[in-house]
Symmetry: C2
Subunit: 399 residues, 2 copies
């Protein structure tokens, strides 16, 4: 009998813990939605509430870690499933310009901020790079959800925002791949270039070779006899590529995202496959968000310098996307550029994923993790109320 054969008390604790995490996440998400705040932030808050600094009902452990890991892998797999390679390759120059400027400015400014007094004190080069990386990627989900609720998904600026957010995700993951593999060794330019090349080769392989191969092979999957073969293959691919990505030194989420993207064409219009993957994802993602709240060490904010750092990060995060992405979209005119700039502000779960990876790798400490988390949540909360009037005025002008 395995040493871990569970007692009955163990099962009660396990199931109640899962129920508490999932139920609390959805309850706070509902409350946040009612106050027109992003559900993502509510679910993280649920983790804070039931964790060490709240009611103390749940401690982070091996089980919460596993579910959290699976949650973020499925989250990025789902984002990938919505991202067709052709959509990225075929998107206009404006979106690419918006994305590239919107990656370079936050990365450089975030890194520079951490190398300047008073923040540079005790912060290593790689820590500063990680903070910069966490400021790169726009959260496609938050932006898309807000634009949809405004009925503006079809507008030109919205299409540029979505295209740029996807490119920016890929660039962000590329930067993360380079920085995180560099963090494992010594930081030298050769190794950094090598890991960036490896990540790029992996991404190119998945997008240019695996994706078309899967699209061509998809009809043959129907010849399989195993029940629900498409879902079984999709999940196997997601777990397999995520594991392979970690093995070659790229983050699991990049593998999951690429696996999803490689399947995007093949999975198009397969409603049941999408619904089933969505079911698995929506079961697991709350554990990822709640686990972030569980891991948040609120005591770091007793130090006023952490609060100052968080405020500086928020300012840099907002200004760099506003200027970088706004400049990229200048041809849309001032209002269009503003819409794009503001639309790209939310960092949401992608920034949090980067911070979490940094924390898990032991590269950044609790203080930086807390400050980045506050930045990610704040930019996510700020953007929707700023977007509404910008589009409302367009609407009035048009009407």
């Amino acid at each position: 009998m395995p040493a871990t054969a569970p007692s009955n008390a163990h099962d009660v604790e396990l199931l109640f813990g899962l129920f508490l995490m999932f139920g609390a996440a959805k309850l706070t998400a509902e409350i946040f939605e009612r106050f027109r705040q992003p559900a993502v932030v509510g679910e993280i808050l649920a983790g804070v509430l039931i964790g060490h600094y709240g009611f103390g009902w749940v401690e982070p452990n091996e089980v919460t870690h596993l579910l959290s890991e699976l949650g973020v892998v499925f989250l990025m797999f789902n984002v990938g499933l919505e991202t067709k390679p052709a959509q990225i390759l075929g998107v206009g120059g404006t979106a690419t310009l918006v994305a590239v400027l919107g990656v370079i400015l936050p990365l450089a400014a975030g890194y520079a901020l951490m190398r300047l007094p008073p923040f540079a004190d005790g912060v290593s080069n790689i820590e500063a790079l990680f903070v910069g990386t966490a400021m790169v990627a726009t959260s496609v989900g938050i932006t898309a959800r807000t634009l949809a609720s405004l009925g503006q998904l079809g507008s030109q600026s919205a299409r540029i925002i979505l295209g740029a957010a996807v490119i920016d995700d890929v660039l962000g993951l590329l930067v993360l791949a380079a920085v995180s593999s560099a963090a494992q060794g010594t930081v030298d330019v050769g190794a950094l270039s090598l890991s960036a090349l490896l990540a790029l080769a992996f991404i190119a392989f998945m997008a240019l070779l695996a994706a078309p191969a899967l699209t061509r092979a998809a009809p043959h999957a129907l010849r399989l006899r195993v029940g629900n073969a498409e879902f079984a293959l999709a999940i196997s691919l997601c777990l397999g590529v995520a594991a392979a990505a970690v093995k070659i030194g790229v983050a699991a989420i990049i593998g999951a995202f690429l696996a999803g993207m490689a399947l995007a064409e093949a999975a198009e219009k397969r409603h049941d496959l999408h619904a089933q993957v969505k079911g698995a994802t929506e079961l697991l993602v709350p554990f990822f968000l709640v686990n972030i709240g569980l891991q948040l060490d609120l005591s770091v904010f007793a130090d006023r310098r952490t609060l100052l750092l968080a405020a500086a990060l928020i300012a840099v995060a907002v200004i760099t996307k506003l200027i970088g992405c706004g400049l990229g979209a200048l041809r849309l005119g001032r209002r269009g550029a503003l819409q794009v700039g503001v639309g790209m502000i939310p960092r949401g779960e992608v920034g949090i994923v980067v911070a979490q990876i940094g924390l898990a790798m032991g590269v950044i400490d609790n203080r930086l993790f807390g400050a980045v988390l506050v930045m990610a949540c704040a930019t996510t909360i700020i953007a929707p109320p700023l977007l509404r009037p910008l589009y409302a005025r367009t609407h009035e002008a048009a009407g």
Copy 2:
């Protein structure tokens, strides 16, 4: 930082383990389906192959236990979702008679077998009861899948088999509730009656009060603002009732089954909710089946007495369902009675769940677990090839 902050190597191992378990399960399932054998048995075999007695790639641990537990909870939640209370209450007397006789005979015969020489040696009363309990419940899934593949789901005997299998599941869970809560204390009739009553009250509450209340409340769920509110509520209910069931001494799977059944009316025709729950279930169930294979201690079969016991259990399992259920369906004529009797033979995952609970509670040992597992697999493999000619002849006679 939590003590369990993972290293990169830990994540590689975790993700590769999950990929191996899921991928191996689906690969063997595909091979089994091609040889017209039940996929369930294939997925268990996958666990044996990648485990201690095979390639030794995966060891059972806290993580495989968690996923396995979630897998069986979702499996039974899904079975519950397909089981409307009205369908059970409204089914004919024949199905009830088939179910009741098909529960009493295997339970009594299984128990008696374990109290007789040469098998009684070193076997306690509660162990014998557990073995009897594991022989009770027919696997609805296996039976339904076989009848569907024969195109016979609409026949009278098929409807009786399905109705009886559902009643027999509820009775089986009731017996399990009584036996497993008795196993936690001393075995006295008072406690046994009390726990049976408690289980019955819990089942009655869920079926008679919670189910109609949820059916009435369902339209209001649409007023919730949180994304995908129905799914969030369904999952919360599943985890919450499963945890509550364990808390009052009933198995988690009974809670999950009842939560599903209580939602069955409310969830009817909500295609996306079903697809999403199916996605979560199909992601998790392979871990349950593979974990069984991982836990199987093949060395117990070195002892010829274990093989003898397994053979005796298979014989008793087949004969008692054939006679019990066949007698119950005698009004259908000899062929109809045979169809029903054979259709009720597969124990599949339900018998395995009971054995697993017994093993996890420390009530039955590896030797009995192995013998019951062989019985469950053998009855599942035997039934489909016996059913086919019985229905084929009907078909020829009809044609």
